[in-house]
């Protein structure tokens, strides 16, 4: 992490990030969350991480940490995701946006939520509610709407899937990841 540099994210790159998030959570909700926030991207490391910081944090990073201290942050503000060929949103940002948007999610039963937090996938029979519209990557919530993780839909239409025991959404990341691996 030492040779990694935090830089303001160029607007073309930002467009790609916002396009993905807008598809998942809607333009109004994304705007609402990112109001008064700026995006930073890491350079020089094995992956490009994107962080959202407030204007106050942005100024502190550039005027104090970089200019006076000659250092780079390890992390800052909210981790938004990993920028690459495709932008991969983080669980952190999806949790915050789901709280506002209440869309692009599936609710699963308590038992399935526990299993999902151990890295398991979602079977059709575990889904108790669908928060339309759905994107390819959806938020997984428990019966109290707590975010358990993200999964990738592997069927085109949940309603037309007849096999109850079939896996319909593959685990991408879950809350247990913090314990099993961590950042």
């Amino acid at each position: 992490m030492d040779s990694i540099v935090f830089a303001p994210m160029p607007s073309k790159m930002q467009d790609k990030v916002f396009a993905t998030l807008v598809q998942m959570f809607g333009r109004r909700n994304v705007r609402l969350f990112f109001k008064n926030r700026k995006l930073l991207i890491t350079k020089g490391g094995p992956r490009h991480e994107v962080f959202a910081v407030t204007n106050e944090q942005f100024n502190f990073i550039f005027n104090k940490i970089k200019a006076v201290l000659g250092r780079e942050p390890y992390c800052a503000g909210v981790f938004v995701g990993i920028y690459g060929k495709k932008f991969k949103p983080s669980l952190d940002i999806c949790e915050k946006l789901f709280k506002i948007a209440k869309r692009n999610a599936i609710m699963i039963n308590e038992q399935a939520a526990i299993l999902f937090s151990y890295g398991r996938d979602v079977m059709l029979k575990s889904i108790t509610k669908v928060y339309e519209p759905l994107h390819e990557v959806v938020v997984v919530v428990d019966p109290q709407e707590n975010v358990v993780g993200l999964c990738k839909l592997i069927v085109k239409n949940l309603n037309k899937t007849l096999c109850n025991e079939c896996i319909v959404c593959e685990n991408i990341i879950d809350k247990g990841w913090y314990l099993r691996k961590g950042h």
Binding site: T54, Q57, K64, Y74, C75, Y178, G182
Partner: protein, 335 residues
């Protein structure tokens, strides 16, 4: 580097064990120099009460994360899992785990970031520092993030917390806890915190939970202390004095510093503060912590007279308060 050992012209004979201390040391299988110091600090009977707590462990406690859940709701959720909580006297959102201690680190609620497993003593420094959403706070030895996430919660995820630590592994843990607990106002930097002195007069508040011998953790981990010598306390104290001086340099005028350690050794606490207060004279003062918990700091110990205002500091003991052994003091930089 200031050396409190030299400053106090300490004759380490004060830690030379008496016959009484040797007897206790044999009974409790503990280093005699430690016992001698405990007898001198606490008196014979209280020292024995303290030694009796060793190896018994401490009751677990959690701090409810109000950024994500109401404490009432959390309590109900955990009760349904047969985890019973009891409110900690001094903190509305801190709870002793009365039943279900073995499960407390493996619940979905933990993964959701609804609480942080933390000894109540460690909940005090952020509470005493009491930052507001307008503050720019420095958390000097932040990882793994128990106090950082607590500061963020008190600040309602607003303002700025600069969290520094040098350990690569512990920084990973810090970042995971920040994500888990939904914290948004932290800028974490992996660095030797001594470099931060370049940011003079920058922070409105500073938390220095200083690296220490861990003498307060003896009830949890008695083995950790057995290999140490009294001289080691002074090596640690030198580092603590240096860090506290840095905290003074980077805090703004009228800004506040909270100094804490998980150690009950006066050498790492009152001696360190005594040194700083004498060096900086009228440029810094001890403030009332504004909370009624623990017992006062020592103004005299091992036959050494210290400043009387050190009584405003707080000491916590496992045999008295059921917490880790802990020390906390609040300071103010004078404008």
């Amino acid at each position: 580097m200031i050396n409190p050992f030299k400053t106090f012209n300490m004759d380490l004979n004060y830690a030379k064990p008496s016959t009484l201390a040797l007897e206790l040391a044999k009974k409790y299988d503990f280093p005699p120099y430690l016992i001698e110091r405990y007898v001198k600090m606490l008196g014979y009977s209280e020292a024995e009460m303290f030694l009796n707590t060793i190896g018994k462990g401490l009751r677990k406690a959690i701090r409810c994360n109000r950024l994500k859940i109401s404490c009432k709701h959390l309590k109900q959720r955990l009760e349904r899992k047969n985890i019973i909580l009891k409110k900690i006297d001094f903190l509305d959102y801190g709870f002793w785990v009365i039943r279900g201690e073995d499960k407390i680190g493996h619940t979905l609620e933990y993964l959701y970031g609804f609480y942080y497993i933390q000894n109540p003593a460690s909940m005090l420094p952020p509470l005493i520092l009491a930052p507001t959403p307008e503050d720019v706070v420095l958390d000097m030895c932040a990882a793994p993030g128990g106090k950082t996430t607590h500061l963020a919660e008190i600040m309602k995820n607003k303002g700025i917390i600069v969290a520094t630590d040098i350990s690569r592994e512990k920084m990973k843990a810090l970042r995971s806890h920040l994500s888990r607990m939904g914290v948004e106002n932290v800028i974490a930097i992996r660095m030797d915190v001594r470099e931060i002195r370049r940011l003079r007069n920058t922070f409105t508040k500073v938390l220095l939970d200083a690296p220490c011998s861990g003498e307060g953790l003896i009830p949890i981990d008695p083995e950790s202390i057995r290999k140490r010598r009294v001289e080691d306390l002074y090596i640690m104290a030198s580092k603590q004095v240096e860090l506290l001086k840095i905290a003074y340099e980077v805090v703004r005028e009228d800004g506040e510093i909270v100094y804490s350690t998980c150690s009950i050794a006066p050498e790492e606490n009152e001696f360190v503060l005594n040194e700083i207060l004498n060096t900086l004279e009228d440029r810094i003062l001890i403030e009332d912590p504004g909370i009624n918990v623990g017992v006062p700091g020592f103004a005299e110990v091992f036959n050494i007279k210290l400043r009387s205002d050190l009584r405003k500091c707080i000491r916590l003991y496992p045999h008295k308060h059921g917490t880790e052994g802990f020390f906390i003091c609040k300071l103010k930089k004078i404008g």
